[in-house]
Symmetry: C2
Amino acid sequence: MAETRWLDDDEQATWRAYLEGTRLLIHALDRQLETDSGVSFADYELLVLLSEAPGHRLRMRDLADASFTSRSGVTRAVTRLEDAGWVRRVECDDDRRGMHAELTEAGAAKLAEAAPGHVSAVREHMFDHLSEADRAHIRDAYTRMRAHLLG
Amino acid sequence: MAETRWLDDDEQATWRAYLEGTRLLIHALDRQLETDSGVSFADYELLVLLSEAPGHRLRMRDLADASFTSRSGVTRAVTRLEDAGWVRRVECDDDRRGMHAELTEAGAAKLAEAAPGHVSAVREHMFDHLSEADRAHIRDAYTRMRAHLLG
DNA sequence: CGGGAATAGTTGACCGCGCAACAATGTCGT
DNA sequence: ACGACATTGTTGCGCGGTCAACTATTCCCG
């Protein structure tokens, strides 16, 4: 075991600002969506993913991969969304194990209703505080981090 | 309600890379701590906060504020840490409502054991992928965001 | 072809967290 | 000094998530 390279003051400050800012940001976005539209941030993201998919549907596994959560998490989330009427399950015809989650009209409408407020909140709490340079650095840095963590 | 300013492609890319990278990062740190030292990331952070406090103790409310979580979350977390022997509750003598959470010797030892691996993971998954400029931009940007969200 | 290995989705058990409600205590104005 | 109000920490409840185990199906290779 090599000598530990502790974080210096600047790294500490970066790490804490990032962690705490992120915690506050996600919390704020969750609250905004919940109070204004009755959707959790997690559910909102699933609706977005489905709305972008061809035919407004995705295999359960693809939804799990795309949302970076577990399969069981997706199972429960889709059940939740189905109960709300925003998603329906459709059997796969080429794989009898498979299930599609498909956005309903009501789901699309809910998304359309929730999106403007959410985007405004994302701007207000994040992008309004970023310069062009900030944004570019954040984009590139997190893209590299994500690639590393997926590898 | 004004016209919604949607996120352009670059903002979308930034937003997704950040969200997904963060999700993967936190998950990786949690797993590393859990498997190598039997501590969750959340608990680790509480131990750090206590270790930095004068007398290795903090009021419950201060611990909640410092960790950016709810009071009830801290109550349960401290109970958990108490059961593990890493923290003890100490009554406040100047406020009979008050409770201190105080790091025990075992808690300090656990922290000392877990810290090197955790810091290595933070470097490997985050700081190793950041240039000096990246870090400065992230530090400043999230510091502003945090201040805004606290305001 | 046939049978072991991989994969899809669900379920059960459990965990951690936030909110709202609560009792106990402290604070402050009049 | 007293009553209205604020604050502290805990709790009940529900949500959303993981992991491990399970069934059903598909894949793949000898």
